[in-house]
Amino acid sequence: MSVTILYFARLRETLGMTQEKIELPAHAASVAGLLDHLRARGEEWHAALAPTQSYRVAVNQDMADITTPVCDGDEVAIFPPVTGG
């Protein structure tokens, strides 16, 4: 299935990526599965998305957690804790 991923702020800079469209295997159809998939890309991704790092994930513009399902056509955003206001 096809998923759009957006990266923001420090994570966008660290990973050198603003937006991408990926094919996610059906067995990885959750935030946890998607993160595992991305971490497998190499050391930089593994470090930046380690569970000990502080970051947030939104699915279809709603704050999500690792159990949130990811479906075909979803927009997933990965970003640092927010600092507006």
């Binding site: 923001f8 513009q61 704050m63 927010v82 600092t83 507006g84 206001g85």
Partner: protein, 151 residues
């Protein structure tokens, strides 16, 4: 329940006057204005860039305002948040809450700010003498938001 995300500055009187026009049932308006300081975490700050997640920002702010509306007796709420490049002393955010009585207005306004600080997808990058740096989220913002979770 107007929510706006914009690069342009806003004028307090213009916004509040439009917000309360024709509503003689309003007895109290609590307002918060956030400003760019010229110092943060010990460094001089010469400017600020506010990045956001456009598709999510409006939705997140509307969700926060909707929660405030359910929890307090409020007549209306207004949120304006700026993005882009800002200078010290520039206005960043305006939250206004109108109510018949002051308690609801104060509490809903503080709630919206606390949730905005932890839930709305904005990120600040500061320009300092050592270069640009991303502002770190503060644990105190998480605990401020956690105060509102009903036991």
């Amino acid at each position: 329940m107007p929510v706006r995300v914009q690069e342009a500055d806003f004028d307090l009187s213009t916004e509040i006057n439009a917000f309360r026009a024709g509503r003689p049932e309003i007895g109290a308006i609590a307002v918060f204005v956030g400003l760019v300081r010229d110092v943060n975490v010990g460094s001089a700050v010469s400017g600020l860039t506010l990045e956001h997640y456009p598709a999510m920002t409006q939705k997140a702010l509307e969700g926060i305002v909707a929660q405030a509306t359910q929890r307090w007796e409020i007549i209306d709420a207004l949120v304006i948040h700026r993005v882009g490049h800002l200078q010290p002393m520039d206005q960043i955010v305006l939250v206004a809450v109108a109510s018949a009585h002051r308690g609801d207005a104060f509490h809903a306004c503080e709630f919206i700010m606390d949730y905005l600080k932890t839930q709305a997808p904005f990120w600040k990058q500061e320009q300092t003498p050592d270069g640009a740096r991303w502002v770190e989220a503060k644990a105190s913002d998480d605990s401020a938001a956690a105060r509102w979770i009903k036991k």
